[in-house]
C-alpha cells in the first residue's frame, strides 16, 4: 500500500492539535500515568501495517487523508436533568445534555469525566487508568495523554437500572476534526446496567476522526450490557477501545453493530480477573463500497472457572474490507476455563476482502477452548432450495443474508434496539 509519506503522521501531529496541553485532572496518580503514557509515545510514529496488530488496516493511510483543525480546549459543562428517558447526548465530541429518569437518578451517577474524577478520586485511583495501559496500544496512550473529555458513569452497589441508558453521539462539524473521549464506567456490587450507544451523523459536515475509549470495571456480581450501533455517514473514521475488568461473578455482554462509517477499528480488551465471571461478545459488520471495519478482540482469562464467548460476523460487498483478529489468552492458573471464539464472513464480490486471525494462547491444561472461522459465499444448496420454491434469485440472496445477520441480532437484549437494528439491516440490503 503506497502512502503519502510526505505527511508527518506521528504524535507531534496530535500534540500540535492540543497546543501541547496534556490532560490534567488535578489528581496526582492519574497525572503521573498520563505523563507515563505520553512519554511512551511522544517520539513515536503512528503504527504502520508492519505492526502485527495493524497488518490489515493501513491506519497511517486513513490519517493521512486528514487535515485536522486545532481543538477548542474549553469544555462546555452540563448539569444532569430529569426526563422520561435516560439519555446522554454528545455532539461534535462534547456532552451537551445528560437526562435521567427519577427512578434512575438515585441509583446511577452520570457526570462529565472531570467532575466524576473530582467526586470519586479514591474509586478512580483504585479501578481506573490501569487496564488500558496493559494493552500498550498507541492510540490508548494518545487518548490518555490529551483527552479530558468523556463520561463518568457509576452505578451504585445493589442498584439495578431497569431502563436502558441511551448515549447518542452525533457529529456535524464543518472542519475536519479529531475527537477523543475517555469514558469510565463502574458497575457496583450486585448492580446492573444496560447501555445503548448510537453513533450517527445527522448533518452534513467535514470528515471526522474519533479516538474513543471506554474503561469499564464490573465489581462482584455486577452485570453490564453494552449495545453499540455504528451508523455514521461516510465521512466518519474511528478507532474505539473498549476495556473491561471483570471481578468475581461479574457478567459482561457486548453487542457491536457496524453498519455505517468509512473506517472503524474496534478494540475489545476483556479481562476476566474474578472467578466465575462471564463475558459474551457479539459483533456484526455489514460493509459495502469502500468501508473498512476491523474488530480486534482480546479476552484474557486470568482467573479459574470463567467463561467467554465471542461471535463476530461480517458481510462484505463491493470494495469493502472486514478484518477480525481475536485472541483468547488463558493464564497458567485459570483452570476450568471455557472459551469460545467464532468468526463467520460472507464475501459477496471479488473486490471485497475478508481477513481473519482467530488465535488461541493457552497456558493452562484443564480448559475447553475452541475457535472457528469460516469465509465464503452464500450456500448454493440453500439458494437452490429457495429458488426451487419460486423465489427470485435476488430475493433469495437477500433472505439468506438477512438470516445470516438476524441470527446475531436476535440475541440483542433490548426490543427497541433490536427493531431499530433490523430496520437498518433491511435498509442496507436494499441498496
Amino acid at each position: 500500500m503506497e502512502l503519502a509519506e510526505t505527511k508527518d503522521i506521528s504524535t507531534r501531529m496530535f500534540y500540535d492539535l492540543y497546543d501541547g496541553v496534556l490532560a490534567h485532572a488535578d489528581f496526582d496518580p492519574i497525572d503521573e500515568r498520563i505523563k507515563k503514557s505520553y512519554d511512551l509515545i511522544k517520539d513515536e510514529a503512528v503504527p504502520s501495517i508492519k505492526n502485527e496488530d495493524w497488518k490489515y488496516t493501513p491506519i497511517r493511510k486513513y490519517l493521512s487523508l486528514f487535515d485536522f483543525q486545532p481543538h477548542i480546549s474549553e469544555i462546555p459543562t452540563c448539569e444532569p436533568k430529569f426526563a422520561l428517558e435516560n439519555k446522554v447526548t454528545i455532539e461534535n465530541g462534547h456532552i451537551t445534555s445528560i437526562e435521567l429518569t427519577k427512578d434512575a437518578a438515585g441509583k446511577i451517577e452520570i457526570l462529565p469525566l472531570i467532575e466524576g474524577i473530582g467526586k470519586y478520586p479514591e474509586l478512580v485511583e483504585k479501578y481506573f487508568y490501569k487496564t488500558p495501559l496493559r494493552s500498550n496500544d498507541y492510540f490508548v496512550h494518545l487518548n490518555q495523554s490529551f483527552c479530558l473529555n468523556g463520561l463518568f458513569i457509576y452505578v451504585h452497589d445493589h442498584c439495578i437500572i431497569n431502563e436502558p441508558i441511551y448515549i447518542q453521539q452525533d457529529c456535524y462539524n464543518e472542519n475536519e476534526t479529531f475527537h477523543e473521549t475517555h469514558n469510565l464506567v463502574l458497575i457496583g456490587r450486585d448492580a446492573s446496567m444496560h447501555l445503548i450507544k448510537k453513533e450517527l451523523c445527522t448533518g452534513e459536515g467535514g470528515k471526522v476522526f474519533h479516538n474513543l475509549l471506554t474503561d469499564a470495571v464490573i465489581l462482584d456480581n455486577g452485570k453490564f450490557s453494552f449495545n453499540r450501533l455504528q451508523n455514521e455517514c461516510k465521512d466518519t473514521y474511528q478507532i474505539t477501545h473498549f476495556y473491561a475488568n471483570l471481578l468475581p461473578h461479574a457478567q459482561l455482554n457486548v453487542n457491536n453493530i457496524t453498519i455505517g462509517g468509512a473506517f472503524a477499528r474496534n478494540n475489545f480488551w476483556v479481562e476476566l480477573n474474578g472467578v466465575e465471571s462471564h463475558a459474551k461478545l457479539r459483533g456484526l459488520s455489514l460493509l459495502n463500497e469502500h468501508q473498512h471495519a476491523d474488530n480486534w478482540v482480546k479476552v484474557l482469562h486470568n482467573a479459574p472457572y470463567c467463561e467467554s464467548d465471542q461471535l463476530f460476523k461480517s458481510i462484505v460487498d463491493d470494495e469493502a474490507t472486514s478484518v477480525f483478529s481475536g485472541r483468547i489468552y488463558v493464564a497458567k492458573h485459570a483452570q476450568k476455563t471455557n472459551a469460545y471464539q467464532s468468526n463467520k464472513n460472507i464475501v459477496l464480490k471479488e473486490t471485497a476482502n475478508s481477513y481473519s486471525k482467530p488465535q488461541l494462547e493457552i497456558y493452562a491444561d484443564d480448559v475447553k477452548c475452541s475457535h472457528g472461522s469460516t469465509s465464503g459465499q452464500l450456500n448454493e444448496d440453500e439458494l437452490f432450495y429457495l429458488r426451487a420454491r419460486g423465489i427470485k434469485e435476488q430475493e433469495a440472496r437477500k433472505l439468506l443474508l438477512y438470516a445470516f445477520a438476524e441470527n446475531l441480532v436476535e440475541q440483542l437484549d433490548n426490543e427497541h434496539f433490536k427493531d431499530e437494528v433490523k430496520a437498518l439491516i433491511s435498509q442496507k440490503f436494499e441498496k
Binding site: Y56, K332, A352, N353, V367, S373, G376
Partner: protein, 480 residues
Amino acid sequence: MSDQDKIIDEVVGSEYKYGFYTDIEMDTAPMGLNEDIVRFISAKKSEPEWMLEYRLKAYRHWLTLKEPNWAHVKYPAIDYQKIIYYAAPSSTPKYQSLDEVDPELLATFKKLGISLEEQKMLTGVAVDVVMDSVSVKTTFKEKLSELGIIFCAISEALQNHPDLVKKYLGKVVPYTDNFFAALNAAVFSDGSFVYIPKGVKCPMELSTYFRINAMNTGQFERTLIVADEGAYVSYLEGCTAPMRDENQLHAAVVELIALDHAEIKYSTVQNWYPGDKEGKGGIYNFVTKRGIAHKGSKISWTQVETGSAITWKYPSVILKGDHSVGEFFSVAVTSNYQQADTGTKMVHLGKNTKSTIISKGISAGKSNNSYRGMVKISKTAEKARNFSQCDSLLIGDQCGAHTYPYIEVNNQTGVVEHEATTSKIAEDQIFYCNQRGINNEKAVALIVNGYCKEVLNQLPMEFAVEAQKLLAISLEGSVG
C-alpha cells in the same frame, strides 16, 4: 503423587535415546562467516561459477536482513560468527561399495536402526545418507537411473546436471525470501536433488537420513525435488542428532516443484536433540520448506516433529495452477523446555484449487507449542476451497498451546473453514480404559495415538513405524 503426575513426570523425564557421538576425522572450514567462507564452500564442492555468484549474492543480501522475531519462541541471540559453516567426513573420495565405508559410520547407522545393508536388502528404500553435509553413499541408484530418475546429492547434481539445477534452484524459495533462506543459499553444503522425468512413477520411496555430527557445526541442507509432468514421487526425510550441550543451528531449505499433473509427497520425521531436562542445549531448527504446484498437480507435506529445542518451520504450498491440491499433515510433540512454532501457508492462486490442513500439537512439561498458518485466497483463485483443523492437547499444567491462523479471502467464490480445539486428555476417556483393565500409562498412549492417527496414516509404511517409535520416545512412559 497421583498416577497422572507420575506419567507426566516420566514424560518430562525421559532421556534422549539416540545420544551418541561418532568420532570421525573432519574436514572443516574455519569458524565464522564472510565472503571467503562462501568461496571456500563453493570451491570445496568444485561448483560452477554461476553457483558461486548466486551464493555471494545471497550472502550480501543476508547481511542486509534482520533475524525474524515474530515467532512465539525465545532463545539467546545466535552469534553467526561462532558457527562452523562447513564440515565433511574426510574419507572422500566416494566409496564404490559399502565395505569401503568407515566402519564406525556404519555402526552409527546401525544404532539408528537404518543400517545400509538392511535398507538395501530388506526395505527396498534407496538411501542418500548425509553425514555432516556430504553425501556418503547412494544406493539403488542404478535401478532409479534406468527410469531416468535422478536422485543424488545436490553437489553431485551441480556437476552432472547443472542445467536442471540452474533452472529450478531458488525458484520457489529465492534467497530474498527470509533471513534463514538467505543464509542457507549462501552457505548450504549439501542436500538432495531429485528429478522425476515426465510420466514416471517412482517405484520406491526415496529417503535421506540427515545427521548433525561435528561440534559447532551448523547443518545447512538444500533439497530440490522436481517432478516433471505426470510424475509421482514420495520422499522421506528423517533426522536424529547426538546429544550435546551447545546449541546447534540448522537452517535448511526444501523446494518442491510439481509440474502439470505431477504429485509429490514429502514426509518428515524429525527427532533432533531437544535439549536436556533443564532446557540446556538442543538443536535450533529454522527451516524454509515450500512447494509450487502447477496445473492439476498435488503436493502433500506430512511431518512428525518430536525433536529440536526450537522448531521454526512452515512447509507451504503455492497453488499456482488450476485444480492443484495442497495438503499439510502435522504432529508436533514438545516436552521439557522445547518450543515449536510450526504450521503452513497455503497460497491459492489458481482456479478450483484445494487445500487441507490437519495439525495436531501435543505439549508436555514446560514446553510451548504453537500452530501458525496462513490461508490466502487471492483474487484469481476462483472456487478455491480450504479446510483447516488444528487441535492441541495439553499434558501437565505448565505447558502452553497456541494457535495463530491467518485467513485472507480476496475472492467471493472461495470457501475457507478453520477450526481448532484445545483440551487435555479427558478423565472419562482414561476412566473408560481403566475400566477395561488398561492402566493409565497405556490409556494415555492409546489416546495420543488415536489423536494423531489422522496424520500418522498419511506416512508411508516404512516411516509410520519410525514415527510411532519417536512419538513413544518423546512421550516415554505415556505412549507405548
